[in-house]
Symmetry: C2
Subunit: 534 residues, 2 copies
């Protein structure tokens, strides 16, 4: 350790308490580990407990010129976990800032800190009988809401476009100053939590996907529980059906008939949700053959494509949406089923009936269907936490930790207009690349807004197998290159993708973002160097 680092650590200890500056070798190894190869190390992990401490920590970082790297809960699996984008960054772990304040039932909003997990808020809203739902992502219940929102993550419900449902950001700037955005800058404004823009230029966008500030609190808008919700599931036969399905659903998304995100996964993706890699059936070989895939798919009754989403509203509204959805998907899907709280209750007692309803035999399907159902109404699930363990030889442990367990996982999510031909183009490019690198093409699509679609591509492997880290990264690099060349750019970047963000032509943009704005907000370049820089 350099003398200035030692001084900084003393100062941080004085600021947050000795026990909250963690220098333990095991901890430092853990925070530098992701679900793919990383090389940057951290000399310390600091755990402030409130905004004032964050501000002090940042001021200390400036004083001693030690770069810091904030993480909310550090569970950004597949995109870098808590591993920093530059070497020797001190991790600023915000997990102790975990307060839920200012629940406003009438205006359906709540104020949260970065340590608040989606499970925590979901539980709080149910316990307090708020009648409000939080949008959740497919990630674990233990993941941070703010961490995901500031990366512009996408959930399941009509509030899935989370970054457009936030207001009044409290931000510690990298030079140690503190600001409140929107009307929050006026201390007494009543509309500060309901109207995001405030007066004058709006800064909120600057703090999403950036290294320009640390959000220590924000107000999140919540969805009022509807009179009725019906979850729908569909299956389709033939890879080419993707075009038809997307194009059939596109006008429904545009017109707001479908308000939830809709997810459509290929057979690989669905098999991956239910099973670990079939080492016996494949005789220990990778990748999985088409015939094994078909067998497994058949066993859980899944076809080439499986989709799900939800309808929300009054009884009559949902009835009308169902009518339109049925008509739109006629002849495009082989099966379209609906599930409600009451049909789920019946199914819980008689799983066989559910199996019949969905055209599957296995009772084991039930917990997964139930989890997907719960996510549509704001109850997070760890069901997707089996994904990273796909290629592992052992069953996933009780408490899953993909970093610790050397699971290999890299996410990549290119965006396109909501259009069947774009979905197919992205699918063909990415499937081909994944197969070339001998990974199963675990691919889904999310209808993420009225006009946009994103691919959800997972490179899943076992980090304990020699050479796989390198092969996965090469595969990722080719995905980035080929998809970008074809005009499909990701909606977010993992730490492994940060060096690929620079646009080829637009020098003025690069200069503005990477040099000039950074200079204003962070003159000493101490906040997350390398993160979303162009």
């Amino acid at each position: 350790m350099t003398p200035s680092l030692l001084d900084a650590i003393s100062a941080w200890k004085a600021a947050v308490g000795d026990e909250y500056v963690d220098l333990d070798t095991e901890t430092l190894s853990r925070v530098a580990t992701a679900t793919f190869a990383t090389s940057n190390q951290s000399p310390a992990v600091i755990h402030p407990s409130n905004r004032e401490e964050v501000q002090t920590c940042v001021q200390i970082a400036n004083r001693y010129r030690i770069p810091i790297y904030p993480v909310s809960t550090g569970k950004n699996w597949g995109n870098g976990s808590s591993a920093p984008t530059a070497n020797n960054c001190v991790i600023l772990h915000l997990g102790r800032l975990n307060k839920i304040t200012e629940l406003d039932q009438k205006q359906a909003c709540v104020t949260i800190e970065p340590g608040v997990t989606q499970g925590q808020l979901s539980h709080f809203l149910r316990e307090s009988k708020s009648g409000l739902w939080v949008d959740v992502t497919g990630a674990s219940a233990e993941t941070s809401l703010i961490g995901n929102i500031m990366e512009r993550g996408v959930g399941y419900s009509p509030y899935s476009n989370r970054v457009s449902k936030i207001c009044r950001l409290e931000v510690v700037l990298p030079d140690g100053r503190f600001i409140v955005t929107g009307f929050g800058k006026y201390g007494n404004a009543h509309a500060d939590r309901v109207y995001p823009w405030g007066l004058g230029p709006s800064l909120d966008g600057l703090f999403t996907q950036s290294n320009l500030g640390i959000v220590t609190r924000l107000t999140l808008w919540l969805m009022p529980e509807p009179e009725r919700m019906e979850c729908f599931y569909f299956k389709a036969h033939g890879e080419d059906k993707l075009v038809d399905i997307i194009d059939a659903l596109q006008p429904l998304k545009l017109r707001g008939i479908l308000q939830s995100a809709v997810h459509i996964g290929n057979n690989y993706k669905v098999v991956n949700t239910y099973y670990q890699y079939p080492w016996k059936l494949t005789g220990g070989k990778t990748p999985m053959s088409e015939s094994v895939l078909k067998d497994l798919a058949r066993s859980i009754g899944c076809d080439d494509w499986s989709g799900s989403g939800s309808l929300y509203g009054t009884k009559n509204q949902v009835k009308e949406a169902k009518r339109i959805l049925r008509r739109a998907l006629t002849k495009k899907v082989t099966k379209l089923s609906f599930m409600t709280d009451s049909s789920l209750a019946v199914a819980r007692r008689f799983p066989g009936i559910l199996g019949k309803l969905l055209g599957v035999d296995l009772k084991s399907v039930f917990p997964i269907i139930e989890s997907i159902y719960g996510m549509q109404k704001g109850i997070p699930s760890d069901v997707t936490m089996s994904t990273p363990y796909w290629r592992k030889k052992q069953a996933p442990p009780e408490i899953r930790d993909p970093d610790r367990d050397h699971c290999g996982l890299i996410w990549y999510s290119p965006v396109a207009p909501l259009d069947g031909s774009h979905a197919t183009a992205m699918y063909q490019i990415s499937k081909q690349i994944l197969l070339t690198y001998a990974f199963e093409p675990l691919i889904a699509f999310a209808l993420m807004s009225e006009r946009a679609l994103c691919g959800v591509i997972a490179i899943v492997y076992d980090r304990d197998v020699p050479g796989e880290d390198e092969r996965a990264m090469a595969c990722h690099r080719e995905l980035v290159l080929k998809l970008s060349a074809a005009g499909y750019y990701p909606y977010r970047a993992g730490i492994q993708n940060m060096p690929n963000l620079t646009p080829e032509g637009d020098r003025d943009y690069v200069k503005l973002i990477s040099h000039q704005l950074k200079q204003v907000f962070d003159p000493d370049n101490i906040l997350s160097p390398g993160r979303y820089e162009f």
Copy 2:
């Protein structure tokens, strides 16, 4: 003129052509005139025809350090028209950038330039049988879309929150550089017009209500024409009914049953839409007495409050929304009526029937009702153009120009949570102030989003009456002070309000916005000095 200004003018002439640099005294007097007292003069008006010329003009402004003040069409009546926020700014008039490009019917979006008016786009969409509607405001058909959107103006339809329906901003920075926001920075990105965020920090918010850039083009999302639209109108008796109505509609806005903005105006406001000031009835005195108000209100069948909005969707969806709306407003309104294309067609032939339907006698009501109906489906109207002429002694001329005709008009629009008690608080404060200053309290409320409400307050007077300019400005100043003290801040600022924006407590915010960001974008401080500075 200073030598550097003369040099700059020569350079501008060379850049855009002699005939597009206007030094005519009459022009200069016109652009410096607003609907209230102004003191800043302009030495020239430049009319570039495209983005490249805008860029050149900005570079020239930097070279000679001459401040410029861009206006789109300059019809920002009630907020400063085209009058600059600082003396000696050259007006950069963007009216010749009036191209509509890249209409995408499937994704329902279109790319426009700042000179494109809402009337122009509305006409274009109907002519091209696009099946798409543009959200329009209550302002004239001749007003700029981009001009209004960048001020975060609010329209009538489900797309009324216009600033959240834009994508891919092309921006000339005040130092002469040019950037494209969102995915636009990647030249080949397919999603650049449908997904606004791009990758990395989002800059769009910085260019709204600011002097940090000149938007020369953007993509605007449009609303697909629904199967059915029904416009609703209601009336309520008793000033205290405002609380009940707002609180009855609030859950419907929050739950998306009501997707359009809903406007609720007091009796003064409605009378003002139908009549000019009743000089005879009042014996030439101002303000109008309560009894004259009641007489006029009775003559057009309006009660203490009048409201309107629209329901959109399939036939069944609209039917369901009607059911819920009726139930919500029971006993809160004295009349609730609906209008459709077909009932409008009947009414056009037999105005008497419409009168009966709405509980009014006058056939003259019809054109106004028809205009409000049209605005809900993207057809702008000049019906509100009678407002500024309220206190004039002459009838409004055929071609209305409130600046030229010395109409006095100052808008003020404070924002609050969507809540009856806040509406009442804002109403009491502002009504009291307007009456104190002897202006009619022309006040409406707009349910502008799921969670926010804004007051629409107009100070209307005759600039030809000595002393009125000063009295109106004093009234405005008191509105600003009292409403701010009560926690209600406006969603936008007119040029007369720019000096009042600075938050009392938040020095860090002020320093960041007004000094540091401005310095990055505009080192020579040549773009709209004084506009949205803190």
